[in-house]
């Protein structure tokens, strides 16, 4: 009564394999979230291409950006540039001392130097605006803003430099020293070129943050000096939503994106380890 069924015991392949399903869901999940990331940007882009009341079309919006907001953009670039310069000048020697020199309390010092990252922006803002007003009398110079930006972002320059220096074997500097190079020659000709990528990662990170910064800027900017992000913020609060403001926001993001892509092009994505950028 039991003729053996030849297919009994052979597992049937499911129509949709479990693994493939999970893979599909996984990818869908990632892409959904990524879409959410760029959704605000895309929305603003779309908005910026609509007509303003009284204006005449998308291009006019961007021309408006250049005309009216051009100053703000220039200020943003200028402030960013100066901040980067200060950060580099401060971080390179400090990073070298931290990695190559021995001294007590190194870990404490490093924590103390990276602390600005953990202080809420509003606190930095209020403390600096009051100090500038009552102690340093730095309220009318752009350097007040620059130094505030430098303070907030210099840990982001310091960390990639420290990481890059740690990854650089000491043997190169020893070899250079034995070949007759002075400390400065070794630094300039061997160390700096070899930590270039790490240094650039720091530059990129700081640029992006400072270029788009509005919060601390709101507190400490000298009168008459409005950076582009601050202008966006003020515009929204006073004039409401306007395509030209959107155009400015889009421009800022495009410039930032260009900087990121340039970095990826030049250096790949490896050098951002240890920073807050991937």
């Amino acid at each position: 009564m039991t003729t053996a069924d030849p297919t009994a015991g052979v597992a049937r392949r499911p129509v949709v394999s479990g693994r493939r399903l999970t893979d599909a869901v996984s990818h869908a999940y990632i892409w959904t979230i990524l879409v959410l990331f760029i959704l605000p940007f895309v929305a603003l882009l779309g908005f910026s291409l609509t007509s303003r009341p009284g204006g005449s079309g998308p291009v006019a919006n961007y021309r408006y950006v250049v005309d009216t907001f051009g100053d703000n953009l220039l200020w943003s670039l200028k402030i960013s540039g100066l901040t980067l310069l200060i950060n580099v000048l401060v971080s390179l020697p400090a990073g070298y001392a931290i990695v190559r020199h021995t001294f007590p309390g190194k870990r404490t010092l490093f924590s103390a130097l990276t602390l600005p990252l953990y202080v809420p922006g509003a606190v930095i803002g209020i403390s600096l605006v009051l100090t500038y007003n009552f102690t340093y009398h730095l309220t009318t110079s752009m350097w007040g803003l620059v130094l505030a930006m430098a303070l907030g972002t210099f840990p982001l320059m310091l960390t990639p430099i420290v990481v890059a220096l740690k990854d650089l074997p000491v043997i190169f500097e020893e070899a250079a020293a034995c070949l007759g190079a002075t400390r400065w020659q070794t630094y300039r000709r061997i160390v700096l070129p070899l930590i270039g990528p790490g240094l650039s990662a720091g530059l990129l990170l700081c640029f992006i943050i400072v270029f788009n910064e509005y919060l601390v800027t709101l507190f400490v900017h000298p009168p008459g000096l409005t950076t582009a992000p601050l202008r966006v913020f003020n515009q929204i609060r006073t004039a409401g939503l306007d395509p030209a403001t959107a155009a400015l926001a889009v421009t800022m993001q495009l410039i930032s994106l260009a900087a990121v892509l340039l970095f990826f092009r030049l250096f790949g994505t490896r050098h951002l380890k240890g920073t807050y950028l991937l």
Partner: protein
Amino acid sequence: MTSTTRSIAPLRPGPIPALRAGISAGRLRTFGLLLPAILLVLLFLYYPLVFIVQMSFTQGSSFLSPTGAITTVANYTLIASRYLPNLLVTLQLALLATIVDLVFGFPFAYILVRKVHYRTAVRALMVFPMFGALYIAFGMRFILLPGGPATPILQALGIASTDALFSLPSVVFAMSIFTFPFMVLNIGTALGNVDPTLEEAAACLGARPWQTFRRILVPLTRAGTVAGALTVFGWSIGTFAEPLLLGSANEQRALAWTVYQRGVVQTDYGLSTAMGVVLLGVAFVVTYLSLRYSRGALVE
């Protein structure tokens, strides 16, 4: 034991073995290299913080008055009473944003680390949120405008668009987008350090995915996850673009904005610095815990 010729009296001794001098020259150089950084941080962070702590114990703008400052603790008691809702709203928003980031970020990081091979594209897109919470808030405000692009979808879901726009969920949503990449980075690094064969081993031993997650992955990535959560929380308590642009009156009481209002606009220095100190205190507690969990320093 040696068979060398014993050295004769040394000829013309060289410079004094001033090992001490060598050490101090080295120390001086170290200090010189560190000086700019130390100065920057001392002058623009630590002193100002001390300054505002001082000021927080004065009344209003009496700091400036010719008769001298009036010392008081009233600012703090005021915060504990009248401004308590502000503080609570701030904490609430930050907490919710952190939870959202954790819940959605962990799977994201997991998939990214274990399964995805087009990392560069992902990385390129993940930079967008980091350009600033401002643009996120701005973009979302536009999207959620009554009559804007999202209105049809919201109506289909039965939500009035005014409800969606100025509300807690949209603020939290915007905040979590901004901090999402940081959370993913922290978790991703921790996950990257977990050997994938551990998960395979668990599966072979019969564990189902949830069990593997709870009993293997969570304990092993705890340091990175906690570090990420605390970083996100710390950043979230200090923001005001999202609450301001997307929130109702309730959310707009976020402490960071109140600091600005009271401090810069209304020159009530005493109160605003007290608020700042409270924010700072919360941030420090959070940071302390975060550093303890994340094996802090890159320095040996």
